[in-house]
């Protein structure tokens, strides 16, 4: 998806090989190609712009330091999405641990995954356009394994095959997870969608 061959420009795989040979311009080009889509992915996964940028910075730093770990049998996009995805999941687990620790001290239930949007009423959902914040909250509320594939498929628009390579699960499992993730989103958003229709 992300390898570029238009206008004879080098592919991602050619660029990473050039970078391995010491060409820093090839690295800079890869950063330019991927920084926005990776930040968007990490933002949708974590729900925080600063955290998303930190994750993507760390991703490119790892690419810089561990370029030799890239094997040309895989697509570069698969490799870099795997790094970002793993870092984002680690960050999410770190947050959950921290939240559980802090909430356990005061006896509250962990309501992190409840869909709450007290600021937005139905009147704000104009002309069947679902509010970005509501959608983002619904994505955040998904269990991790569904959230990951939904973002890859429905926001980043990756192929099922590429998602399968990134997440390292069989193609059939990817399709099944995407379908179940969408059904969970539909359950969470059906109330808001009903308001829109009426």
């Amino acid at each position: 998806m992300t390898s570029k061959n238009k206008n004879n420009s080098p592919t991602d795989e050619q660029l990473i090989e050039k970078f391995k040979e010491g060409n820093i311009y090839a690295y800079n080009e890869l950063v330019r190609r991927y920084k926005d889509q990776l930040v968007n992915f990490a933002y949708r996964f974590l729900g925080d712009k600063d955290d998303a940028e930190d994750i993507v910075q760390e991703t490119f730093l790892r690419v810089y330091k561990k370029k030799e770990a890239y094997k040309s049998v895989a697509k570069f996009s698969t490799w870099i999405y795997t790094i970002t995805g793993n870092l984002a999941k680690t960050e999410l687990r770190r947050r959950k641990r921290r939240k559980i620790l802090s909430l356990s001290n005061i006896g509250y239930e962990d309501k992190d995954f409840d869909l709450k949007d007290t600021d937005s009423g139905p009147e704000e959902l104009v002309d069947k356009v679902i509010n970005d914040k509501i959608i983002q909250n619904a994505i955040q509320a998904l269990p991790e394994k569904f959230k990951e594939v939904i973002i890859f498929r429905d926001i980043q628009e990756l192929s099922y095959e590429e998602i399968s390579s990134i997440v390292k699960i069989p193609l059939g499992t990817v399709k099944s997870r995407v379908n179940r993730g969408r059904l969970k989103l539909q359950e969470k958003l059906s109330g808001y969608l009903k308001e829109i229709k009426e």
């Binding site: 800079n28 950063v31 330019r32 920084k35 926005d36 990776l38 930040v39 968007n40 933002y43 949708r44 712009k49 998303a52 940028e53 993507v56 910075q57 490119f60 730093l61 810089y64 330091k65 561990k66 069947k128 356009v129 679902i130 970005d132 959608i135 983002q136 939904i150 429905d154 926001i155 628009e157 399709k175 995407v178 379908n179 969408r182 059904l183 989103l185 539909q186 958003l189 059906s190 969608l193 829109i196």
Partner: protein, 201 residues
Amino acid sequence: MTNCNDFSQHLSDYIEGKVSRDLKKKMDEHVATCSSCEKVRDDFVQILSSLRDLPRIDASSDFEQKLRDRIIGEKILPIKSPGKAGKEYSLKPIIVSVGTAAAIALAALIININFINQPDQQFYSPRLQPIPMPKLDNTVSPSGAPMYQSFPGAPTTIGGANVSYPDTSLFNYDSESRRRSSDPLWKIQVDTQSTSSKRDR
């Protein structure tokens, strides 16, 4: 005919047009008679559309500059914890080197302090005794040359010649003179000259 479970199980493929013609016909028939599944299908389409229409969140304008700074910083300030990834940046070798250097410096300082506290003669090697040198006096010799103070044990006259205020010319001793005597340098020429003059007499 399909049921609601089957319908929801294949819903994504159905919407993406990836089901077989037979399955599509069955699902079309089901959704026409099941209002619940019809709603789910409509919601699905709307949700997918909304997900794809979400605004793109781009990297900040200074993203690349920050990345460059981090890359430079990681190289200059090796602060990574030890481990496979951070091994080359480990602080351990630096700490060991600094520690060794500090220990050597401390040892050198202690030795030096002890050395300084010893009497003066300890500064000299036993095999290289200090050569007594004349010191400048405040007075001036008759020839106008500076007078030299004597030092304990130094002769004031040698062979009848006064050596308490030798002219600087007397210091022109040569290697032959040095070989013949280990006495202080100003003695040599005066001594040999006065001795030879006595013999002549």
